[in-house]
Symmetry: C2
Subunit: 222 residues, 2 copies
């Protein structure tokens, strides 16, 4: 299966691309609005994988180009670009493709980070509103620290929560997520449950910033 | 140190009373609007502790009475009773006492539970607004499953997040929390960071209700 990571040149995109390429049999491509930027990053990721003796490559290209033959398209872009990005790749998506939303809206004050709930209800809901008919939307990979994900020496041992209104698509994404070593995918219900998941990301940052010995936190439900 | 648990006849109050009495050297009293109800529950808790061979008792009485000589007063009441309860015990509180807020507002739809953010910003903020001068407010114990807490055979192995704008009060509550076996207290900053913590409680319920093998969930930051 081919997985396209749009915004795959950013922090969380890098981590997902490296882990998916390193740990799963899926073909991984990173996308950007600029093809060259994505190609350069893809080369960088492939070099990183090869340096570890892994027989894995990451492809790169313009967002719509990498989305074109992908079954799963991850929107690893800032929340305010999510709508635009879906629009930009809409014609590349086919019936049965799955859009994955890992983004969350945050704002910061003196005390820390806070969930900035979009008017639509959640970032995942923005994606659902923008998705072409026949393309399912699943929320996943929200609460993962980008730096830890991108460091292939770091153990994960954390959970990712998967939400969606299409059970098959949710199962597909959960299976992909569990292909990443040390990542457990848990079902958190439908897209209506997205705000509490997206709101967990700023909380993880606040906990890390208030405890000297905790960095790049993830969460384990137990 | 004496700890009063107002609403200590409810689920989360029961769990906190039993664990604090069983695991810490503090004197624990549960309060209710009706003295007799609290006295009966306290007797029940003490019997439970004795049946386990523990040399620990729980006292009981009317909310204002048990708050009177307590250093720490836990508001284990529903969010819509938090303001009233602080008002009802305000004259029993002294400079240096600490009010602890574990409550969260939730509403339910077809998909699951959702954080019902109060107009004040958070339940903890409601408590802070209602607290008499000189009495510090700390948020803690939000994300603990009541049934697991009340079952002294159950291992915890989870975290509780502690927030507050008074560093000493926060430290005091964190120390009390860590007296409970298997509970780790993590600093999550100031009261402004409460909404994301209170919003984690409905998420824990949603995760448990969507995964057959997970019940009475807590969370571990790692």
């Amino acid at each position: 299966m081919k997985i396209a990571i749009l915004g795959g040149t950013g922090d969380i995109g890098e981590g997902l691309a490296l882990r998916l390429a390193a740990d799963t049999p899926h073909r991984v491509a990173v996308g950007s609005r600029e093809a060259e930027k994505a190609e350069n990053k893809a080369e960088e990721y492939t070099t990183e994988l090869e340096s570890r003796g892994l027989d894995a490559t990451v492809a790169g290209g313009e967002n719509a180009a990498v989305a074109a033959d992908a079954r799963i398209v991850v929107l690893a872009v800032p929340p305010y670009h999510v709508g635009d990005t879906v629009e930009a790749v809409a014609e590349s998506l086919e019936d049965g493709d799955v859009l994955v939303s890992p983004a969350t809206g945050m704002k910061r004050d003196d005390e820390g980070f806070h969930y900035h709930k979009p008017g639509a209800g959640s970032v995942t809901e923005i994606v659902a509103d923008a998705a072409p008919e026949g393309v399912a939307v699943v929320g996943a990979f929200h609460n993962l620290a980008a730096a830890r994900l991108a460091n292939l020496d770091a153990d994960l041992g954390v959970d990712t929560l998967v939400i969606g209104d299409d059970a098959d698509a949710k199962r597909t994404v959960a299976d992909v997520a569990e292909g990443i070593e040390g990542l457990r995918a848990l079902d958190a219900g439908g897209i209506a449950n997205a705000p509490e998941i997206e709101g967990l990301t700023p909380l993880l940052i606040n906990v890390a910033s208030n405890n000297d010995d905790l960095h790049n936190l993830g969460v384990r439900f137990q």
